[in-house]
């Protein structure tokens, strides 16, 4: 699953690196209060858990077994921001200590397998939980659907990146169909495993499950005079309230990602142009002399590579902006939810 080096060209890799840095920066900021309250050890151990559980082979029926990617599960268990940090840390360790995934592709891997799966998984899960009955039993199916959706969306995001900076002019429609088709299957496995693991956690410690925290039943106490007192469960530490700094962070991320991806969209054309001028012509000549079966390759490919390069650049910018908007949207949703719920604890206290 880890994208290696050279799969996407250098500008696209740099652009996804900028996106990944921005997203990790935002989640560091949003999760800072949680991390201060419960310590870096908790997040570190959750990352160790994700790392370990990715190596487990789960039987998913029909004699096959699958393993977990864990983005949606992490989002459901520890929330989107800490979950994103956890997935980024896992990917960093895999890339830097285990040579899993390329060094220049680290940004791509964090963007796709960290940011996209965690955020999509979380948004879908929470959206479904709003629509479903407010019971603890709703958590598992909602997270399963979140996991199911998150994998093909990540595959689509990969296709978008490939369209922007892929090495070969594949037909993007066909690539998207193949990627999504295959990843729906993987997503089903992911959903089954996520549901099974999450239901085991919900059965023993529902208070640990982030998306289930608001579903904890109030404790009703009746004293000897028949008066009832309702005790709400402890309010978990909220993420840092959104401030102006967050807006600035989002803006800066968008700006950086936007500028770099503009560069990404402009540059391949330039490279191809240079390639057409210098490299390809010569290579074709040599091949023709060699009389190899691959003689004159590339020359006729360029005309259509040129157009697809330009098109791909535009798609790349759109994908970048889409990811940025998704992050911004999530942040603003979060802010609204918080400003709505903020007065409550004060009045209760």
């Amino acid at each position: 699953m880890h994208v290696p080096d050279g799969f996407l060209n250098a500008p696209t890799s740099l652009a996804t690196g900028a996106i990944a840095a921005g997203v990790v920066g935002i989640s560091l900021q949003r999760a800072s209060r949680e991390v201060r309250e419960s310590g870096p050890a908790l997040a570190g151990l959750t990352a160790a858990f994700v790392f370990a559980v990715q190596m487990v082979n789960f039987p998913v029926g029909a004699g096959t077994s699958g393993h977990l990617l864990g983005g949606a599960l992490a989002a459901a268990l520890v929330g989107p921001w800490t979950g994103l940090l956890v997935m980024s840390v896992v990917l960093l360790v895999q890339g830097l200590l285990f040579a899993d995934g390329g060094l220049t592709a680290l940004g791509t891997n964090i963007t796709l397998m960290g940011a996209v799966t965690v955020l999509v998984g979380f948004l879908v899960t929470r959206g479904l939980l709003r629509a479903m009955p407010k019971r603890l039993g709703s958590v598992v199916p909602a997270a399963a659907v979140g996991a199911l959706v998150s994998v093909p969306i990540a595959a689509l995001a990969f296709t978008g990146l490939y369209a922007a900076g892929g090495a070969v002019d594949l037909s993007i429609g066909r690539l998207a169909a193949a990627m999504v088709g295959w990843h729906v299957l993987i997503g089903i496995g992911e959903a089954v495993i996520t549901a099974a693991v999450l239901s085991a956690v919900v059965a023993t410690r529902p208070d640990l499950v982030y998306v289930a925290r608001h579903l904890q039943a109030d404790l009703v106490l009746v004293d000897d005079q028949g008066r009832t007192t309702t005790v709400s469960p402890d309010r978990p530490v909220a993420a840092k309230p959104a401030g102006r700094s967050l807006g600035a962070g989002v803006a800066v991320t968008l700006l950086i990602a936007g500028v770099v991806s503009l560069f990404a969209s402009a540059n391949p054309d330039g490279l191809e142009f240079v390639g057409a001028k210098l490299g390809f012509g010569e290579a074709a000549k040599e091949s023709a002399v060699a009389g190899s079966p691959l003689a004159d390759y590339g020359v006729s490919g360029i005309g259509n590579g040129h157009v697809s390069g330009a098109l791909a650049g535009i798609i790349g910018v759109l994908v970048t902006i889409g990811v940025g908007l998704l992050v911004a949207k999530l942040a603003s949703l979060r802010r609204r939810a918080e400003s709505a719920s903020e007065p409550e604890p004060a009045s209760r206290a």
């Binding site: 060209n9 570190g44 039987p59 956890v86 060094l103």
Partner: protein, 255 residues
């Protein structure tokens, strides 16, 4: 402390590459791979030069060839993808032994294979010559946010503990008659994973409380050792400069 899951691929020998500070290695190897990635695929000679550099790095770092080769298998899924490219890519077709292949697909497959392989070997050199602790100090020196470094350090410290937990659960499960495979066993495996999360979470809480009890103030003490010297940075920069020259030459001269 070798062989644990928390050690990554680290090979504990003494070599000039091992002695280089982690931040220098990180910057140099990332720079090198960026040069490799931005080299046009048809400049075949350039990849020969890169391969020579990478082999020289592996030799200088005194890494056993078996370790490097074994680790290179992580690429396999993308090798499969690359081998499919000639059959599915668009563009003009060419007949090889009676099979119709896409020309740009053949070049693309070569592109993915050669760049991916060089990238993986570069990453192996980094991970096999840098202990996790050195890597953390290097990342800290490179101004990675301290919270992230702290989370990373706890993950690396505890990943072997958590894997050990998982291993013991598996042994316990199998000794009670679990044989794996069928869907019915999913519940058993998943319950184990769920329990593992609860255990890890509670361990995280305990560790944090223990830290607070010992005077943790919210800031991890800095792990940084000495700074990299100018000579060490020059050595790292040498690699990038050579790669850059090759990349530029490949762009200008072509294949």
């Amino acid at each position: 402390m070798t062989g644990g899951a928390g050690d990554g691929l680290y090979v504990a020998v003494d070599s000039p590459v091992h002695r280089l500070p982690a931040q220098v290695k990180l910057v140099a190897l990332v720079g090198f791979v960026i040069c490799v990635v931005s080299t046009p695929a048809h400049a075949f000679w350039a990849f020969g030069v890169y391969a020579g550099i990478v082999v020289a790095l592996v030799m200088t770092a005194k890494l056993p060839a078996a370790t490097v080769l074994r680790r290179m298998t992580v690429e396999t899924p993308f090798v499969v993808f690359a081998l499919l490219l000639p059959f599915v890519a668009a563009g003009p077709q060419v007949d090889v032994l009676g099979v119709s292949l896409s020309e740009s697909g053949v070049l693309g497959a070569w592109n993915v294979l050669v760049k991916g392989t060089l990238g993986v070997v570069a990453a192996i050199v980094l991970s096999a010559s840098t202990s996790p602790r050195d890597l953390l100090t290097g990342l800290e020196r490179l101004r990675l946010p301290r919270t992230l470094v702290a989370i990373l350090s706890f993950m690396i410290r505890y990943v072997s503990v958590v894997s050990g937990d998982l291993q013991r659960m598996r042994v316990a499960r199998e000794s009670r008659g679990y044989d794996g495979g069928s869907l019915g066993h999913l519940r058993a495996v998943a319950a184990g994973a769920g329990a593992l999360f609860v255990r890890s979470y509670e361990r995280g809480e305990r560790v944090h409380l223990a830290m607070l009890a010992r005077g943790y103030t919210g800031m991890m003490p800095s792990m940084a050792r000495r700074q990299a010297t100018a000579a060490e940075w020059r050595r790292g920069a040498g690699l990038v400069v050579v790669a850059l020259l090759v990349a530029v030459a490949a762009r200008v001269v072509g294949g």
